[in-house]
Structure formats: structure tokens, C-alpha cells
Amino acid sequence: MNPNADHVEAAGRALRLAMLAGALLLIGLALVNPAVSVLAIPALVFLAAALLRRPAGAGTLHLQRIVGKPTIRSQGESAVTLTLTNHGDMLERVYVSDPSAGQLALVSGEAQALAALAPGATLELRYVLRAPRGAHPLLPVTLVGGETLGLFPWQIALEDGARLTALPEAERVREVAIRPLTTRGFAGPIIARRSGSGTDFFGVREYRMGDALRHVNWRALARHGDQPYTTEFSQEQIADVGLVLDVRAQQDFVVAGQSLLERAIQATAGMAEVLLAEGHRVALLQYGIGSYVPAGYGRLQRNRIFYSLAETGSTPLRAFYSLKWLPTQLFPPRSQMIFISPLMTDEYTMLFRLRAVGYTVAVVSPDPVAFEAAALDPRDPLTAPAIRLARIERQLQIRKLQAGGITVVNWDVRGDLNQSLQRVLRPALLAPPLVRGGR
């Protein structure tokens, strides 16, 4: 029941009753018929009784709403406890309702109740809400009360600022194989193309005083005999990674209630998780709403990114209509950039420009053609040629990007993102580096 409607209905009831009493009185007087005039008396008595018992309001009620888990996974569940205590006189009739249960999904329990509350009595409602991805400010709890006959109700909406945040589901990603042109000075998984304490072979040089004996290259010593040589290993370091999630309205695509943007968000979350777990410094820009999470490390950064992704949604802001306004200054020069977009418009000059100024650019693209094709009617004779044409167009687009030195992961969202990443990014690592050296 909608409490607001209930309030209007209740106030309307009193008005209707007053009008009925007035009408009966007037008709009785007009007809000079006491039997008709007397019919107004019960209605007037009802009104008078309700007016006499009319409460001032809900000043002595204390309401508390406790959200068990304020942060959950997408489609996760959180228990909510609503406690209403009457610190005043007898409350003959009160209707308490949490409209958030209508806004989100009520899994179990009762989110609305009708009760009479004696002085000092407490009403407790326990219910479980399920929430889709997003930051959900819970709606104010509504109380509708009044005297027994319910003719003169009061209504209050209690705002407590409670929120329920449902973080996005992260796609399962085991590795994001990247190779930026520069790395940072801390140990990590990226081969830095200079000697250090890694595991990959880097080269052989003459032995110097202080070199560990276990690094002496005995084969080279046996071959040359005159002086010892030392094996060098590649240094492995962490990198700066900028994730750019394309949330512009023209890139969102909804088919049969499923959003392609939702999958892009899940991919971003999965990649952020694994990159941070490997120790990289990760930043997130959501291009389309201007939300930016500055670069950072570790678990705290993971939470920042996930909270930011929880709040995101596509937006038709004109300021972000074109990619040419991508704020590159937010990302360190020559770092790795991963652009997550379904590539539904053909305006990627900016990506080529990024590549040209030294960024290593990879595009992870949820495939909109496969996404829509799955929902189309295969019996329609136009479906097959239409899909084929769309696939050709997309292949051309991807090849154009690849020709510009951009690695493109074309991800069929019905499949595994991890496999798509491995298939494309792993071979890309074996390609010769364009620039040697590290920071």
C-alpha cells in the first residue's frame, strides 16, 4: 500500500463525511423532513469523535533503521531492521512502511505493518532487501498514524540517510598481460627491460667483485677460460595502468533488459582487481560522467574503484560526446591505458593520438554484434545477412585500430573474458618492444 495515497484517501474520507453530513442536513431542512435531517447526526458524531481524538503528530515516536550490510555484491542481500518505539501515549493506529522495499526487491520479511502501540511498546520489522548494482539511498521511512477512526491522519517521512551500495560483479580474470613503455621503481610482474633481480634471462657480462657466485655463468667461463662471467636477469617492476571505461550514452546498448554497459563495468572491475592484486598502480576514468579515481595501489584502491563503478550509469552529457576531449593529463606519460568500450561509433582518432604520444593502448571491447545477435529471431530471413554485415563492419573497425598499433580484445560477452584477454594480450607481449628502457 502506498502510504501517501493512504493519507490522501484518509483525509478525503473526512471531507466526504463532512460533505455527506452537510448534504443530509440541507436536504432535510429543504424538505422540512426531520427523519432526513436526523440522518446527518451519525456522520456528525463520527466527525466530532475523530476531531476530539485527533493526535498532534508523531513527536514521541522513535524510529531506527539498521542496514545489516551497507555494502553488498550486485544482486546480493542485506537484512534491514526497522524499530519503532512509542515514548508517548497510546498510539491507536499507526502504519509504518519502508518504501525502499518497493524500490529494491523485498526477498523476505515484512517492510510494512499496521499496529497499535501501547506506551513504551516497540514494533520491530525485519526484512531482507536485494539490490542490483548501484548506490541506493534508502527512501525515508513513512509513518501514517491517527485516531482510531482514521479520519484525521498525520504522516511523516523519516529520513535517516541510510544507503545500500551494491558493488559490481567482477568478471573472472586471472591475468591482464600488459607491457607499457615505462615501469615504476618497485618490484612487480612487468619485465622492465633492464638487469635486476628477476627470473627472466637478460644477458651475460664480465664478472665484477661482489657478484653472487650462484650467478656466475659457468658455461661462459669454461668456454673462455680467462675470466668469469655473470648472468644477468631482467628486472620486474610494476606499471601505471589507466582504465578508461566508456559510459557515454551512445555506447550503452540494452537488449532484452540486459545492458552491454553492465558487462563492460564487470570487465573493468575484473581487470582492476587483478591488476591491483599484481601490485600495479591503477587509475579509473569513467568517460561520459567525468568520474575519476586517481591512481593508487592495493585493496583500498580496489574499494575506491568498485565504489565508483557501483555508482556509474550511462549518460548523454554533451561535454563527453566525442572522445577527443579525453583528459590524457590524468595518466602518466608512456603508461598503459586500457580503454573499455563496445566501439559503437567510429571516432577513435584520440586512441591513435594516445598511441602516437607514447601510451600503450589496449581496447577491451564487449562485442555489441554478438550481444544483439543472441536476442534476434533466427527465423527472420533478414537476421542472418544483417548480422553478417554488422560483423564485417566491426571487423573492419577492429583492423583499423590494430593497424594503428592498438591491441583490441573483441569480447563476446556470452563467453569468458579471461580467455579473450589471454588470446589477444599474451601474443602481443611476444612482439618486439618499440622502446627499450625503464624509469
Binding site: 455527506l20 451519525p42 469523535a49 502504519y95 499496521l114 499496529a115
Partner: protein
Amino acid sequence: MNNDAMPIAVRVNRAVLAAVALGVLAPLGGALLARRGDLALLLALAGAGWIAMRTWQPAWPVSAGALWLIATLLVFAGSAGVGGGWLLVGMTAALCAWDLDALHAQMRGAHIANGALLWRLHWQRLALVATVALLLGGLALAVTLRLNFATMFVLALIALAVAGTIIRRLLDDLPPD
């Protein structure tokens, strides 16, 4: 609805049916005594319609419409010479049915806490109000006052002013759209 609330809702529902039956049968009896079979038939149809519509549960407030319909029929019955006592009982019972039906509608789909206390407070208040209404109505029917036109006119003006004040206050209380 929890288990202890179910009997309360059922009890309220039965009380509504009883009140509707009384609200119709009392004036119907009066109409039959006054040999107005047509009015009796209309009242019976109105009562049956009220109960049927409650079962159907349409979006619009059934009881409010039914109350106005019954009141209209009672006015006709009063003009047709049906005894005032029957009409008074019918009107009071119809108002009780209208009130109880609103309570029953609010109970529908909601968890009911302290249902026994809620119901006890409600029927006690309703019984008190109905008794007072019947007593005052009966008193008004018993007392005969001879009024000239001027007194009638003044009384009508007072009644209009009071009704106008009440209606204005109620309109002020309505929340803005």
C-alpha cells in the same frame, strides 16, 4: 500476513459484512412496513452490490460510493414515509461498515502487529460512537420543535457556516499534489 493477524483480518471482514447487512436490513424492514416494496428492493440491491464490489476489489473506493448510495436511498425512504428510527439505524450501521472496510483495506497486505489491541481499541471506539449517534439521533427524533421560518433560516445559516468551516479545514489538511 502472520498467523495471529489472520483471525483479526477475518474478524474485521465479518464485522464489515454484519454492518452492511444491518445498514440495509433495518431500512429495508422499515420500507416493507411502510409498504414500499420498490425501496426495499433497491436497498437490497445496494447491499448486495456493496458486498459484491468488496469481493471484486476495484481500484476506486467502493465503500465511499456505497455509503453515498445508501444515504441517497435513505433520503428517498425518509421522504416516502419510512420510520426515522429504521433510517437512523441504517445510516449508523452503514457508517460503521464504511469505517471497518477502511480498516480492513489497510490490513490487507500489511503485517499486523498487536492485532488484538488494534481491533479491541477500534471496535470499542466504534461501538461508543455508534451508541452516541443512535442516542442523539433517537433524541432528535423524539423531540418535537415547532420552528417558524426565521428560526429555520438562522439554523440553516449556522449549519452551513459550521459545515463550511469543517470542509475548509479538511481541505487545508489535504497534502499538496
